[in-house]
Symmetry: C3
Subunit: 452 residues, 3 copies
């Protein structure tokens, strides 16, 4: 980067680095804010819940048991030492960038090396024992203006209620994630629909009652502060099943569905969800293209979300056509798309977002939420979708401590991208400053309907 270019980037970054943080999509636990208890230990803070971290260690031959995973007792000092011993594996990864930010900016500890691991452990543990490092205090110190969790549709949201009742000044809101009620391949699908009946008071034995039950839960989530739903699907498929077939299909998928039945049903229900969004205003999020649990051995021993989910190619154009052809022209709908297939950025997603009024593009997701990933994202989407069809940033993390680090990486990426554009004379510094602000927080507030 030339002097001129890095000068512009620095100027733009200075203007946004202290902006408030909005976290409209992620996987933090509302219980942290309900109870406000201290984090347990450095291993549980930085290593054990972070699938980016333990997947890398596992890929280099470290058994997951050595990282305290799989249940049972663990020695947090030994876990932390193991992590430090393999710290060089993370060179070049966003995980290293994030964790360095947490260690040196947020926690203010000494440089981490295999030799200093126990000393750094002690320093972190000492911090965690202070009131300043409790969840609510950190929330305020981080400058968060709202934080959305992701919650099963049957969740009673008790922790959200407790947190809100404590009136501590934070805004912790739920997100409606109904997949376990929509996707017949979920092994508890039929049981979940029975639970829906109990919780909603609707007779979910019929398709109409099932829809009523879902409406009931959406209304409850809205009452608890939700502004959005979230869906995940491996192979994107939407389909509007004719009315005459729905009841029979519903009964089949509860009993003995074929794979084709399952795909049709879930594909239909995504459209039903979009239609409910027209009525109740919940922003819809769609995460497509992650093949879950590809390592059966790890799944059996350690459960889900252990680093073995893998991206696959996604056909957004054909996959979403039935949904869009029903609801895509309706200005009441906002549908945010997240992909793991970067080949679709310029080929499909930017052209689609540059046409359909309902569509917004989510930020780089998961493996692509990195410096180069962010650069590729801007490079590929902006020229066709512009900036105003983007959904801004969300950190999508369950690692609460890393939230400022992740937003900081994004903000640096925004500044670097906009500086390039100014240097190429696409626009001047004034426009760049407005866009920097939009990409930092403005677009996320508007897209997720979370204006303060």
């Amino acid at each position: 980067m030339s002097h001129r270019l890095s000068g512009i980037a620095a100027q733009l970054y200075d203007g946004i680095k202290h902006a408030p943080i909005l976290s409209p999509h992620g996987h933090c636990d509302a219980a942290w804010f309900a109870s406000d208890q201290a984090f347990v230990d450095p291993a549980q803070l930085l290593v054990m819940p972070d699938h980016y971290v333990f997947r890398m260690l596992y890929s280099q031959g470290v058994p997951l048991e050595k990282l305290g995973l799989g249940g049972g007792d663990y020695d947090p000092r030994a876990v932390f030492q193991c992590f430090a011993d393999h710290w060089h594996l993370f060179l070049g990864t966003p995980s290293r960038v994030w964790i360095e930010y947490v260690l040196y900016q947020t926690l203010g500890v000494d440089p981490l090396t295999p030799e200093t691991a126990q000393q750094v452990y002690d320093q972190i543990a000492a911090k965690l024992a202070t009131p300043a490092f409790r969840p609510r205090a950190l929330y305020k110190r981080f400058g968060i203006e709202a934080l959305a969790t992701t919650d099963g549709a049957l969740d009673d949201l008790a922790d959200h209620r407790t947190s809100a009742a404590a009136n501590w000044g934070g805004r912790i809101i739920p997100t409606f994630r109904p997949d376990a009620l929509l996707d017949p391949t979920d092994k508890n699908f039929a049981r979940n629909i029975e639970k829906l009946a109990q919780i909603s008071g609707e007779d979910t034995g019929s398709f109409a009652g099932y829809l009523a039950g879902l409406r009931n839960r959406r209304a409850f989530f809205i009452k608890m502060g939700a502004t959005a739903t979230d869906h995940a699907i491996e192979v994107l498929h939407t389909e509007w099943v004719p009315k005459s077939e729905r009841e029979a299909l519903f009964q089949r998928v509860k009993a003995a569905p074929t794979p084709a039945d399952c795909a049709r049903f879930y594909g239909h229900m995504l459209i039903e969800m979009a239609q409910m969004s027209l009525e109740d205003g919940l922003v819809m999020q769609l995460h497509a293209g992650s093949r879950r649990n590809t390592n059966a051995t790890i799944l059996d021993r350690f459960g889900r979300d252990m680093g073995a989910d893998m991206p696959v190619a996604t056909d957004w154009v054909r996959g979403l056509e039935p949904l869009l052809s029903r609801v895509g022209n309706d200005p009441r709908l906002t549908l945010i798309l997240f992909t793991l297939d970067e080949a679709t950025y310029a080929r499909e997603l930017a052209p689609m977002a540059g046409h359909w009024p309902c569509l917004r593009l989510g930020p780089p997701w998961w493996f692509h939420d990195s410096a180069a990933g962010i650069a590729r994202y801007f490079d590929s989407v902006v020229e066709t979708a512009g900036y105003y069809n983007l959904a801004g940033f969300n950190d999508d993390t369950r690692a609460f401590m890393s939230i400022p680090a992740r937003h900081d990486l994004w903000r640096r990426g925004v500044a670097a991208h906009l500086a390039l554009m100014v240097n190429k004379r696409f626009f001047g510094i004034r426009d760049a400053e407005v866009l920097a602000d939009q990409l930092t927080i403005g677009l996320a507030r508007k897209t997720y309907r979370l204006e303060p």
Copy 2:
């Protein structure tokens, strides 16, 4: 970009910025040059015919009716004001770069803002009323040496004839686009084949007569100056249907074809077209991977080409293998490929163009005809295909006024790319200057057989 790098780029750009313009593929209307009437108003000049413009506005909630589309009366001042009010949406897009060039370089008007919209409107309208802004005058001022339109195979090319007869000094040539006669999914397919009989005098009731009719039309286009054909296909498929099956297949696709019949027939006809090119020398163009009219609501209300065509993934290697295995080694054939799937640049297209004598790669097409798109194109294709398997540039536009702007964006991209290569010591400035000239006009002249 460092000083050294931008210095080389500037030197290369200086050498090509005033080169003549060759426009060997595009969608201008020959009638403009036949009648040489003034453009109607600023809205019809810049907003209403440009699907890049109205698709972006539509994606942000502007109804197409507000842009004067859909037929009926419209208020050009209101349309232009609406466009100006949303001018910020185009930040970062090539549309903004092109339109700024048109406004400030070609038309020489004041900066466009929501506040200045009416004043700018007046300035444009005043220009359009002068003889210097009539089509023929602009053609000369733009330094165009030839401009190809795209014309249905049944077109009588009356406007081309009128323009040529006027002997005004411009070279407006047709391009043979026979898809409506080849693709059985065209809803007028059978009727078109009857028209072909009337126009060509051949009995198109038989497959042999149908081929003769097509040959007749190709000869007519050649007589009118055509040097190329053009084809579009969503899912690339070519197939050499055995002789014994052709007549029956031809009869079936005219009557009640299955989707498989349609794909086979069109796939076979692409090979027939390539074979006719061996005889008559027409350069063949193939645009693959655009899924047309994905928004049924817009199609019903506003018709085709309203911004809802979306790119899909394309398999060039398998899709083209049957065609290439019949004619690909014949030095008489030139076949230019255009893709909307950038993942195929390095994976398929560059390796194919670096082997088959007939193949040339078209420039970045449609959504990829942008600064970053051009950079990705060079980055992905040159190392395997070299420069001499590229077809040079074509603007592919129906926005006549923007032609210099589009060629200028390409020329800047050429200079930026070649400067990078010089900086990486791939070659020196002398070679770069030769390549700059080739990419600006030499390769296009040669590939399209349009040497002056």
Copy 3:
């Protein structure tokens, strides 16, 4: 590149440019080192064996016969002149960079132009006649510490034996390539299995005897120095066929297999090969996604490997899942993946390598082994896979003279990438120096089990 950036790159390159060369995968001929005869002539040295070279010439209309290919007599001076006459076609390609290195650094001849071709020919011929340009002398001058060839499983490895017996100081090792015994679509498949019986002494009439024969050959290759196997597959498919079906499937694929049988059998055998690697420690290499011999005319006239192999899209996640679910968690296995589909770098390969203990990513392969290809590779894989899940570099060439040129291009790419990372503050210069050394030779030694 700014001054600072090019300064860091130069510093890193200086530290690795003279490092030893390890060539753990390639297609040199062991006979060269067994006989140590001089290379025949400049045409056979630089033009005729290099499919990168003759495919480009062919793509621009040069008949392969003019390049001395297709058997029979040829005039080496005419071939070399033809190559020089078209030297400009290679501007921007790695072939030109490699050959310039060979001409000017390795051979030290005058600049090549159409006019100087015969003089350069004489200069090269004179060099080749000297002892310093015999294979063994070049091996030592190039600083090669080991060089692996690729050999059919039925090969007697006589040349390797001769080379080793000569005790000349070089390490020429074979690689076990059994595809002709595993892939039923090989037209000599059944005959090869009979030969396996003769060579191994096992009764390959049964599936169990066939497996024993393969084990026997693996043991022989290991005795001859092999540390790795190699497999190529067009459409990646692995499948664990139930025990009860294997014998019947084996008998069918020897007699009259269906395409589905062939895919199942080869897919199963890839897993058997991985399981044998658990026992005998051979590193497994998998090259997927090359569609072979797409030009039937060229295949009939000139045979295989004539520049008409084309990359196709590859589904690594689903294709490899059955293999990985059986052996992927076993720390004894090393499986190196090579792709021609760059879209899978960030989407599939980096996430997979960042999880599975057995996986390592091969360097950019074939068409992607170029300056921009190397940059894209690092840009796409490092952030998710880190550096330590990469397999380092291998040149994969049959052009022995170009080996230093190819390693040099890679080392420049490594330095350029790491300088970018230092400039973006991912890590400091000390870490970059360690990584440069790893990427140059450390990772290749470790991955291929070729520590000196």
